[in-house]
């Protein structure tokens, strides 16, 4: 029988990795190896079932989720898991975002494809425990032995009597929490593993006001903050005189680090902001070539994240037979459609915040610290997110809205404009990847090395304090996907180079995976060609018998089979193959591509993914489809450019993205389940798409494209 507190101390790549094991350099490499094969821990604030679940008199169960619903379908997955262990129907299960006042707080974040993976065990234990609590309470209320009671669809029956969960809960004054009971036999699952429709579907097809942007409070005002569009600038001062007389202006607030306008409407606040004369001090001038020069491998500080054999020596400059290629990816914007924002109301002893955030706990700390209050005095009521993708791991609007609310004594809602979103994003950093390899006489890889130069992803983030950055060494986010995953190669090496850039870079869905897999998997095709081998068998012959390699091999073989992979272009259409393993989920794509009038067109993508145990096959498919299209958008179209010290473009359209016309008309997703634990699904399918498209393009044009966005 599992101990009830087990999930709080489960070690994994989070706490265990950060605090427990990482003290010397070889150990850092051990960590790196573990990242792709270890379960994430859940390090939440409470294991009390009655804080997680609320049984209502109408016999519904509310699950107060510490994880945010940002489109990934986590509410539906959690509902399925909990409904099964609670023995209620999915219609009786309602999932809501836990207010931080509830005490159910995730001290880290919603992200990294970890929600289902980390909550799979604890949530089942919590739900099963809650069910026993209800049975025990019913036994007392009915005067029947608990052992004689059974549960079905929220009704407890036995001894000729029956009572609903809602009736039981209404009569309980104090719950007793038992030890964790045995969990349900998987063969009795009603919802887990089934394609249950999303629980938020009706709200989302009827336009219900569920997002941060939709939140309101009585007497609410609108705030607007002036931000520098320029890079590497500091706020010096502001002349507010012209703005003060503008219609609807309530107050102009000048702080050390920002200036905000509060007005009676969004339009009036924005119009008044345009009249502020803000002076910024520019530290140095940046242009695109400065960024490209800064990002080249060989600058900054290298850290070896993977080492087997003597790849470094074998691939030194001047060694004979070294094949070398380099790849580039640009600055990427999140471009989520709901702008970052916040509604805050500061009262004497309490701050109430409604917003879309991936980091409720961090947001409340940040607001508390700015206002000189404790984090417990700041209550975050999270809303649905109009897209996350890592953008809402940073919530500057919360502090700004709170400061403005305090200044006017009323609730203030404050949002980024789209231009501010594009210019003040926490971007996906640009990257430069250098790959080198040497083949044996019979066309196998003897040695391979991967140098990854990237701006910060996890480093520099408030979520990863400096001391931990020192312990871990290289930026886990920047080299995600950069490890050599063909463990049958006798000599391999990966090196991460850290580059400081003059703009904020951070988490962008799948982090380094997109650019790093593009580089590694493009290079694998280049090597296969040099070796005179088929790219599928070439990949397979460099895998071992380890569990991770076998799972990857199965995904590779199945994708090739499913797509009827062929090397030759037929009628102008060619196939490209690529694969990767991320967060313990191997995934392979075959992209079917043509080039018409100098434009790449993706007709079909075959995706085979093995996320282990699947909770909801329909929503896992949805994540694959969405990742493929978002990934295509990033590798085929998107690019931010530094011009005259600012980032451009500042609007959709000019920031080219995949639209309906660009999405493949066919996406065939096949799910394998070669692990009995659920792995991540929200990011792994982004990995291979860039190289799959690039490898197909090469088969048509015979010219290797090594730069994102792909241009022919």
């Amino acid at each position: 029988m599992a101990s009830r507190r087990k999930f709080l101390i489960r070690a994994g790549i989070g706490t265990g990795l950060l605090f427990g094991t990482a003290y010397c350099l070889p150990i850092r490499r051990k960590i790196a190896e573990q990242v792709n094969v270890t379960e994430s821990p859940y390090i939440g604030s409470t294991d009390d079932p009655k804080i997680w679940f609320e049984v209502t008199p109408d016999n519904q169960v509310l699950l107060h989720s510490p994880k945010m619903e940002m489109g990934q379908g986590v509410f539906t997955g959690l509902a399925q898991i909990a409904a099964d262990e609670l023995e209620i129907s999915i219609e009786q299960m309602k999932v809501v975002h836990a207010s931080t006042a509830s005490g159910n707080i995730d001290p880290f974040a919603t992200g990294g494809s970890t929600s289902i993976n980390s909550l799979w065990q604890p949530l089942r234990e919590l739900a099963a425990t809650m069910r026993v609590m209800l049975i025990n309470a019913a036994a007392q209320q009915l005067g029947v032995a608990a052992s004689g009671l059974s549960t079905l669809n929220g009704v407890i029956s036995g001894g000729g009597k029956s009572i609903t969960y809602g009736e039981v809960a209404a009569a309980v004054t104090e719950w007793e929490i038992p030890d964790t009971p045995a969990l349900k036999d998987p063969k009795n699952y009603k919802y887990i593993g089934k394609p249950t429709p999303r629980v938020d579907l009706l709200d989302k097809v009827t336009g219900a006001p569920i997002y941060g942007m939709d939140a309101e409070m009585p007497g609410m005002l609108y705030g607007s903050v002036a931000r520098s569009g320029g890079l590497d600038t500091e706020f010096v001062g502001v002349d507010t005189s012209a703005a003060e007389g503008m219609p609807g202006v309530v107050k102009i607030i000048v702080e050390d680090d920002f200036v905000g306008v509060v007005a009676d409407s969004y339009v009036n606040a924005e119009n008044a902001k345009q009249k502020l004369k803000v002076t910024w001090k520019q530290n140095r001038k940046w242009d695109d070539f400065d960024v490209e020069a800064a990002i080249m491998v060989g600058q900054g500080k290298p850290i070896e994240v993977q080492k087997e054999g003597s790849a470094e020596k074998m691939l030194q400059d001047g060694e004979e037979g070294v094949i070398r290629s380099e790849y580039f990816s640009p600055i990427g914007a999140h471009a989520q459609i709901e702008p970052n924002g916040c509604l805050a109301f500061v009262e004497d002893d309490k701050v109430t915040i409604k917003m879309s955030t991936q980091v409720a706990d961090y947001t409340r700390k940040e607001v508390g610290s700015r206002l000189g209050m404790s984090k417990d005095e700041v209550v975050i009521e999270p809303t649905f997110l109009g897209g996350g993708f890592g953008r809402r791991l940073h919530t500057p609007n919360a502090v700004q809205a709170a400061v403005m609310s305090k200044a006017v004594g009323k609730p203030v809602k404050c949002y980024f404009t789209r231009q501010e979103e594009f210019q003040n994003d926490t971007f996906r950093p640009p990257t430069h990847n250098v790959l080198k390899a040497k083949l044996t006489a019979d066309g196998k890889i003897d040695a391979i090395s991967h140098d990854i130069s990237s701006g910060d992803v996890m480093h520099g983030s408030p979520l990863l304090p400096g001391v931990l950055q020192k312990i871990i060494g290289a930026d886990l986010g920047a080299w995600r996907g950069g490890m050599i995953q063909y463990h049958g190669i006798p000599n391999y090496r990966a090196v991460s180079w850290r580059v400081k850039l003059p703009f904020a870079t951070s988490w962008w869905r799948s982090l380094g995976l997109l650019a790093n897999t593009f580089a590694v998997e493009s290079f694998m095709d280049e090597l296969a060609e040099q070796a005179g081998k088929d790219p599928i068998s070439f990949r397979l012959e460099h895998l071992t018998e380890s569990k991770a390699d076998v799972r990857l091999a199965k995904v590779i073989a199945r994708a090739a089979e499913e797509a009827n992979y062929r090397n030759e272009a037929v009628d102008g259409r060619a196939m490209g193959f690529a694969c990767s393993t991320d967060v313990n989920t191997p995934c392979a794509h075959v992209a079917e591509v043509s080039v018409v009038d100098g434009k790449i067109k993706v007709h079909k993508v075959t995706c085979v993914m093995d996320p282990g145990l699947v909770i909801n096959p329909d929503q896992v498919r949805a994540q694959c489809e969405g990742s493929i299209i978002m990934g295509m958008s990033a590798v085929m179209f998107e690019k931010m450019t530094v011009e005259d010290n600012a980032l451009y473009p500042i609007i959709y359209g000019a920031y080219e993205m995949a639209l309906m016309r660009d999405a493949p008309k066919e996406i065939n997703v096949v799910l394998l389940e070669n692990n009995d634990y659920p792995g991540g699904v929200g990011e792994p399918p982004l990995g291979p798409i860039g190289a799959a498209v690039a490898n197909a393009v090469y088969r048509i044009t015979k010219e290797r494209v090594r730069r994102i966005p792909l241009r022919v």
């Binding site: 009706l202 009827t206 709901e338 959709y652 639209l659």
Partner: protein
């Protein structure tokens, strides 16, 4: 001067400045939040609604232009108990992920189906040009074809 128009079949009046965007009058003055703000420059389509049955990007559409006209938002397209064929199709195909852009897409689709009851893939590519960051286009295309089928069934 206030602007008076029909909003989802009911008389509505807003005192928003005549040149200010319709979007904010609908969202903040009249309280209907289904029409979304995405960019403010008519570039993403999240704010799409209907003016006299035609799709309009309300973030860049002055309030004064709806005087005396009929405005329909997602709230007026259908209701939970009586979904419009487009909403029904969206539900059947489980299109939304984050869902934020979806009202704009559904409004754009409903307007297109008024003009082109049985759109081809090319019609869809040409007419549905909103932005979805979650990448739901693949399911959306299926849902648009399904909505056309459902609408046809309703008319027959």
């Amino acid at each position: 001067m206030p602007t008076t128009f029909k909003l989802n079949g009911k008389q509505a009046t807003t005192s928003a400045a005549p040149a200010s965007p319709l979007l904010w009058a609908i969202r903040d003055d009249l309280g209907l939040k289904g029409t979304k703000f995405g960019c403010g420059k008519a570039a993403c389509g999240a704010c799409t609604l209907h003016v006299d049955g035609k799709a309009v990007r309300s973030c860049s559409y002055p309030v004064k232009l709806v005087e005396g006209k009929e405005v329909t938002t997602i709230e007026g397209l259908g209701t939970e108990d009586n979904l419009h064929p487009v909403q029904q199709a969206w539900k059947e195909e489980i299109v939304p992920q984050c869902g934020y852009c979806q009202p704009g897409f559904m409004m754009a689709t409903a307007a297109m189906l008024n003009e082109i009851p049985e759109p081809t893939d090319e019609d869809i590519d040409r007419n549905i040009v909103n932005v979805c960051r979650c990448g739901t286009y693949y399911r959306m295309r299926k849902a648009i074809h399904r909505a056309a089928e459902l609408s046809k069934g309703e008319k027959e």
